[in-house]
């Protein structure tokens, strides 16, 4: 034993003391244990041994068991803890022991292991000191601190050491603060600290702990509720860990901490969802931007901030989807892409904040991306314009110009393109070309080519005008005679005859025109080239016609043509020698392609986007001369076709023979080539120049010559006789190969469709900007039903919330078998027929009289074609005897045309299940026998349906109820085109009281269905049972929306009439309708009798 620590000075006294201590301890503990400890402590200096045992003795006063543990662990720890640390360590243990022996046993058992993991002395000391402090309050907490400390320390940055000490101190302090609230909370905090530090920096500890503290709030009993906070500590590290980049994690915490208005549960939920929301945003800088904005917004309105956070991904996605393509007009040219989108999105946020200040509700709707204000602002921020906003204006504009009835739909977006590429392919197709299909004009859903909404609108206008002009000026329509004539001139008699036979072939009907053109082109040596040239010629002709007819559009055309020119491939003039041209250098285009391209550019803008290669100039002058004629006022599509053929002949003659034979044309050769008849035979053999690649259609002129199909638009103003019969006109069905695999906008799924979008359809008058533009048609469900989205008016924000309500349309299910085994539907019909036999007969009579019947004579009428002799005699007698004579002296033949479509819309919300309490006088069978409102409604509807049969009006019966805006159930009891029969009766009998009523949405849907009916009079007859009421749909809001829906219907020229069976209905009906548009029936039992009469009154 060679112990350097052993002090030689007073060994005896130390040894003595040791022995005394050992004895004292042995009195309380197992003496063997003590002896063993002493044996193990042999290497330790005696003075230390004395201290160890002395403290042990002190401890023994508190707890024998703890002392035993202490002695067992002491030898293990003695090499680790310095002499100065030993005291505090045991001191803390003593404190713990004073409160809980068990805890102190644990303390002494575990701590050696733990302290072994903490290398630095100062940190060990600190932890011990902290434990000592906590021990005064809660021993468990002290223990937890010690347990977690090593892991925490390991996760802290080791440099500089002093900073680490400070951090540990903070860590413990934060726990201490939490402990003041609740020690379980603090304990959870300690436990989760290490996982937390795995994902976040120590600097975030404070926010994390503080947020946890604020999550404790009193529950309903007034006691603090710790659960959200505990859950928070337990799971937040993992959630936060999902946020990338990691710097955003503490930002997110800071944000949630700021949301002091939210309930703890919501804040925890938010913290859970936010990482998912953020993950949906692809770029880190966008996420960063979002959180920054969200945080500053939180100062103003936490809920708006949450809204922005949750919708941020969508916002950015929508913004980018309309983000500007590379265009000539950029407002801030010098900024980077990143700066630009930041600035633009900031603008959007700023608008929202201003709105928020004016009206919190509107601001909230804005940040939730619900309101149309948000949409418009987004358009604006993106520097563009949505078709949705201007669809109706454009539709009316196109109609005004062309006189054709048109519908406007958005072009379905293909895979997102980086912009019109003029890269290697040179001629790739921009996917947003406008085109006409039947009566439908397809336009890009969004344009941002120009810097301002105004210019973008002009762009839309030019696209629309050009397409409308294609109709107005008969683009690509060549009549039979001119086509045959042209064929004769160009290709000879034989071909003309073959063409004529194509027209005469009776087996070819609708496709004739295309086939005729096909045959026409088949004779051409270069069909693709001819086709391109024809497009150019037609484009030029239409442009010229537009400019002539509408001088006001010239500026717009210039603007757009200039832009379109910018997008065209450039033909590099510099080193374009003939060899270079031949080699197709520069633009990647062949010579013919270059010439065609330049010709197109000249035809659009009168110039090219780069100086014309001198070598090509003479050629272009020549071609320009040939095209001149199509710009004359009386030029037709046939003229264009002729010019195109001539250009083609000229080009093939000049270029395919090889460049060595190329010589600039002399002025006279222009004249020669205008009469290509002589060269016809020679040309045909020359064939298509090389593998000619077809031209990309220019932006504003759109996809030209797209097939217009059999449903060719019918001009509004012209009579049928003035129209050319389809077989005598032709339209070109030739599209570029890469166009054909691009399907035209699908019917059902498009955003703006004629049927599903009232604002662009000709029949309604709702402003698109007010949000009617969002009726998305979703996939159909089986059974001819579907799901529809409608906007809802929010009075408080003075705006529509778009796509807010979902209508589920379904056929009313036939009733199940009744208890008796009989079909309950049949039972109902049977009962109705017997109970109301007399009434039904009467009603039929009454309704029959409404039927236009030329042979029917109505006697004793106020007016009529014939005098009713009987009545006149009676009147004369009356007068003679001094009575007032009747004025009904005529026989009337009523031949009024009746063209009426009526939608009966029945509210079947829960309140209709209410039974009617009989009045005392007719209270017979007790309450069970009293009918419910719904039963009375059923009977009334049945009687009406039966009666309407007699007059033959188009009648539809719909019932509606629902639960919340996502679920407005719309039941088809009878559709307009369904014949009336037992099945309908059964469905009527199946109407039952359901849930709630969101009236506005139901009215909108019924209106829409009504508008599909071709009838002179369209009537929406609404059978209401009471106030509109649904989840988030009551009071002023519900009333305002319902009124709005009614106004929308009326604007679309649907008449509305409401019958309400609510005794107290008067007041709100008066708010909704003009006095002659509603009636209140305060005794529902009168309904069966009155409904048919009301019907009669309002439809005549």
């Amino acid at each position: 034993m060679n112990d350097p620590h052993q002090s030689p000075s007073a060994p005896d006294s130390v040894e003595l003391r040791l022995r005394q201590l050992a004895d004292a301890l042995s009195e309380q503990l197992d003496s063997d244990d003590v002896r063993e400890t002493l044996r193990q402590l042999q290497p330790v200096p005696a003075s230390l041994r004395v201290m160890i045992l002395g403290l042990g003795l002190l401890l023994a006063e508190r707890s024998v068991k703890a002392t035993a543990e202490y002695l067992r662990q002491a030898p293990l720890l003695v090499n680790r803890l310095g002499e100065e640390e030993w005291g505090p360590w045991v001191g803390a243990g003593l404190k713990i022991a004073a409160r809980s022996a068990v805890a102190s046993v644990r303390y002494f058992r575990e701590s050696p292991q733990l302290f072994a993991e903490i290398e630095a002395v100062d940190l060990r000391r600190l932890v011990i000191a902290c434990a000592d402090q906590f021990a005064e309050g809660d021993t468990g907490l002290a223990m937890e601190l010690v347990r977690q400390a090593p892991a925490v320390i390991r996760l802290l940055p080791s440099e500089p050491p002093a900073a680490r000490v400070e951090l540990v101190q903070r860590w413990a302090e934060l726990g201490g603060r939490l402990a003041l609230q609740d020690s379980i909370l603090a304990s959870e905090y300690f436990k989760q600290s290490a996982p937390f530090l795995l994902h976040l920096p120590a600097s975030a500890l404070q926010v994390w702990a503080e947020l946890g503290g604020t999550l404790v709030q009193p529950n309903q009993l007034g006691k603090p509720d710790y659960l959200p906070a505990l859950e928070y500590f337990r799971v937040s590290p993992e959630w936060l860990g999902a946020v990338a980049p990691s710097e955003l994690r503490s930002d997110l915490l800071t944000l949630v901490r700021a949301l002091t208005d939210e309930t703890p549960d919501r804040r925890v939920a938010l913290l859970k969802q936010a990482p998912q929301w953020l993950q949906a945003i692809p770029s880190a800088s966008q996420r960063q931007w979002l959180l920054e904005r969200v945080r500053s917004l939180a100062v103003e309105s936490p809920s708006a901030a949450v809204a922005l956070l949750s919708k941020g991904g969508e916002l950015i996605r929508r913004f980018l989807s309309r983000a500007p393509q590379a265009g000539p007009v950029r407002t801030h040219r010098d900024e980077t892409g990143e700066q630009e989108w930041r600035r633009r999105l900031d603008e959007w946020v700023l608008n929202g904040r201003q709105l928020l200040r004016r009206s919190p509700g509107a601001g909230l709707a804005y940040f939730r991306l619900e309101s149309s204000a948000a949409e418009q602002s987004l358009d604006h921020a993106a520097g563009g314009l949505s078709l949705r906003q201007v669809a109706r204006t454009l539709m009316l504009f196109a109609e005004g110009l062309s006189g054709y009835s048109l519908t406007i739909k958005p072009i379905e977006r293909g895979p997102v393109q980086a912009g019109p590429s003029a890269g290697a392919e040179g001629r790739s197709l921009p996917d947003q070309l406008p085109y006409l299909e039947g009566r439908t004009l397809f336009l890009p859903p969004f344009v941002s080519e120009f810097g301002s909404p105004d210019e973008n609108f002009r762009y839309y206008k030019v696209m629309t005008a050009h397409q409308a002009a294609q109709l107005e000026f008969g683009a690509f329509e060549v009549g039979r005679a001119p086509l045959i004539e042209l064929a004769r001139t160009l290709f000879g008699e034989e071909h003309a005859a073959r063409l004529a036979s194509a027209f005469d072939d009776p087996s070819i009907t609708a496709g004739t025109t295309d086939q005729a053109l096909e045959r026409f082109f088949s004779a051409s040596a270069a069909p693709a080239l001819t086709n391109d040239l024809w497009k150019i010629a037609e484009g030029a002709r239409i442009d010229a016609a537009l400019r002539r007819a509408y001088p006001g559009l010239r500026g717009d055309l210039d603007l757009v043509a200039g832009y379109t020119l910018f997008l065209r491939p450039m033909i590099d003039p510099v080193e374009l020698t003939l060899e270079a041209i031949e080699a197709g250098r520069g633009s990647g285009l062949s010579t013919v392609e270059q010439v065609v391209e330049l010709l197109l550019q000249l035809s659009m803008a009168g110039r090219t986007n780069a100086p014309i290669p001198p070598a090509l100039e003479p050629l272009l002058i020549e071609l320009g001369g040939l095209l001149q004629r199509v710009q004359q006022p009386d030029a037709t599509a046939a003229d264009s076709l002729r010019a195109a053929c001539e250009c083609c002949l000229f080009l093939t003659r000049r270029l395919t023979g090889g460049m060595e034979r190329f010589d600039p044309p002399t002025p006279t050769s222009a004249q020669a080539s205008t009469n290509p008849l002589g060269q016809a035979g020679a040309t045909i053999s020359q064939g298509e120049p090389g593998d000619y690649r077809v031209l990309t259609d220019p932006q504003y002129r759109g996809r030209q010559g797209a097939q217009r199909g059999p449903s060719a638009a019918v001009p509004l103003g012209r009579s049928a006789a003035q129209q050319q019969p389809p077989s005598a006109s032709t339209s070109l069905n030739r599209t570029a190969p890469h166009q054909s695999d691009q399907p035209p906008g699908g019917e059902g799924a498009s955003l703006v469709t004629g049927e599903s979008l009232p604002d662009a359809s000709p029949t309604t008058g709702t402003p698109a900007s007010a949000g009617m533009g969002t009726v998305d048609r979703m996939p159909r469900l089986e059974g001819g039903t579907g799901i529809f989205a409608y906007p809802e008016w929010d009075e408080s924000i003075q705006d529509y919330r778009q796509g807010w309500c979902t209508v589920r349309e379904q056929t009313m299910a036939a009733p199940t078998k009744a208890a008796g085994g009989a079909d309950s539907g049949a039972v109902f019909i049977e009962r109705m027929r017997t109970t109301y036999r007399g009434q039904l007969l009467l009603l039929r009579k009454m309704f029959e009289r409404l039927r236009p019947d030329r042979f029917k004579k109505l006697k004793r009428q106020e007016a009529g074609e014939e005098i009713d002799l009987d009545a006149v005699i009676e009147a004369v007698i009356d007068r003679r005897v001094g009575r007032t004579p009747s004025s009904k002296l005529y026989i009337q033949r009523d031949r009024r045309d009746r063209d009426v479509a009526v939608a009966l819309l029945v509210d079947v919300s829960g309140s209709t299940g209410q039974r009617l309490l009989g009045r005392p006088s007719d209270h017979v069978g007790g309450q069970e026998s009293a009918p419910s409102i719904i039963q009375v409604e059923q009977e009334s509807v049945f009687l009406l349906a039966e009666a309407v049969q007699a007059v033959g009006d188009a009648l539809a019966v719909y019932a509606y109820s629902g639960n919340g805006r996502d679920r407005v159930d719309f039941y088809l009891v009878k559709e307009f085109d369904e014949p009336y029969g037992p099945r309908i009766g059964e469905r009527i009998s199946a109407m039952t009281a359901l849930v709630q009523n969101r009236d506005g949405t139901a009215i909108r849907h019924a209106t829409r269905k009504l508008l599909r009916q071709e009838a002179k009079t369209r009537l929406l007859l609404w059978l209401s049972d009471g106030r509109p009421f649904d989840r988030d749909y009551e009071g002023v809001h519900a009333l305002a929306d319902t009124r709005r829906a009614i106004v929308e219907a009326q604007r679309a020229r649907v008449r509305t009439f409401c019958i309400t069976v609510d005794r107290w209905g008067e007041e709100y009906q008066a708010a909704l309708f003009a006095p002659n548009q509603y009636t209140v029936i305060d005794d529902v039992r009168q309904l069966p009798e009155r409904l048919p009469r009301i019907y009669q009154r309002v439809t005549t």
Binding site: R392, F397, E399, L401, Y550, L553, G765, A863, D894
Partner: protein, 236 residues
């Protein structure tokens, strides 16, 4: 019950049309009207508002040298106020009598008496359509907006604008009338085009004139107004 000839209750001469009204015949309406007059047949002028019906009647009254008494039937006068009962039916058929119930009088129409009614079909609702029994008592003369060249002449004459401006206004009229089926209840009338011309003639910039005389009177729908504005600026 007395029966006496249709006696004037006021000085009928004051209803004579003194100055020849400006009227450009469009079809055969003048001949048709004269024949009806000669045969004592009542005439019904059908056509959209502001297309020259009243002007035509004035013109014919002057031409036939007959006093012209006009009864305005505004929106709230119902058919039975006027044409039902004893009022018009017996007067318009072969009987040519007008019973006046209150006075227990029966007036007989003189040879030169002629009844002309004018109405705008189309935008009345089903309820307010004229009864067949009323309609079928008249010779009907259909009016429509004059053909472009005639309309241009009218506008030029009435407002004093240049032939060029008149032609532009006619073109605007044509375009706006295309909207009738969908946005507008009725196309723009010749009357409004004349108004627009008058404003332009008095120095109002053409765009503003069309705004005030065409876009705004025609509709309250802001989008339709905008479309009209676009049409106007396309043409001008």
């Amino acid at each position: 019950m007395s029966s006496r000839p249709f006696a004037p209750e006021a000085d009928i001469a004051q209803y004579l049309v003194q100055q020849a009204p400006y009227y450009v015949p469009v079809h055969q309406e003048v001949e048709l009207f004269e024949t009806a007059y000669a045969n004592q047949l009542p005439v019904m002028l059908k056509g959209p508002t502001g297309c020259g019906k009243s002007r035509f009647v004035q013109y014919m009254a002057h031409r036939l040298k007959r006093p012209l008494i006009t009864v305005a039937c505004h929106e709230d006068v119902t058919a039975s106020d006027l044409v039902g009962r004893y009022l018009l039916h017996p007067l318009t058929d072969a009987r040519r009598i007008l019973p006046i119930e209150k006075k227990a009088e029966l007036l007989e129409a003189g040879k030169e008496f002629m009844l002309v009614i004018s109405y705008n079909p189309g935008y009345q609702s089903v309820v307010k359509e004229l009864k067949q029994s009323t309609k079928q008592r008249f010779i009907a003369v259909d009016f429509d907006y004059p053909p472009p060249d005639v309309e241009a002449r009218i506008i030029q004459h009435e407002s004093g604008v240049s032939a060029e401006t008149a032609a532009a206004l006619v073109k605007i009229g044509e375009k706006v009338r295309h909207l009738k089926q969908h946005g507008l209840e009725e196309g723009v009338s010749t009357r409004l085009l004349v108004y627009a011309g008058a404003l332009i003639q008095r120095g109002i910039p053409p765009h503003s004139a069309c705004e005030a005389a065409i876009a705004r009177p025609l509709t309250d729908d802001l989008e339709i107004q905008r479309s009209i504005r676009e049409l106007v600026s396309a043409v001008l």
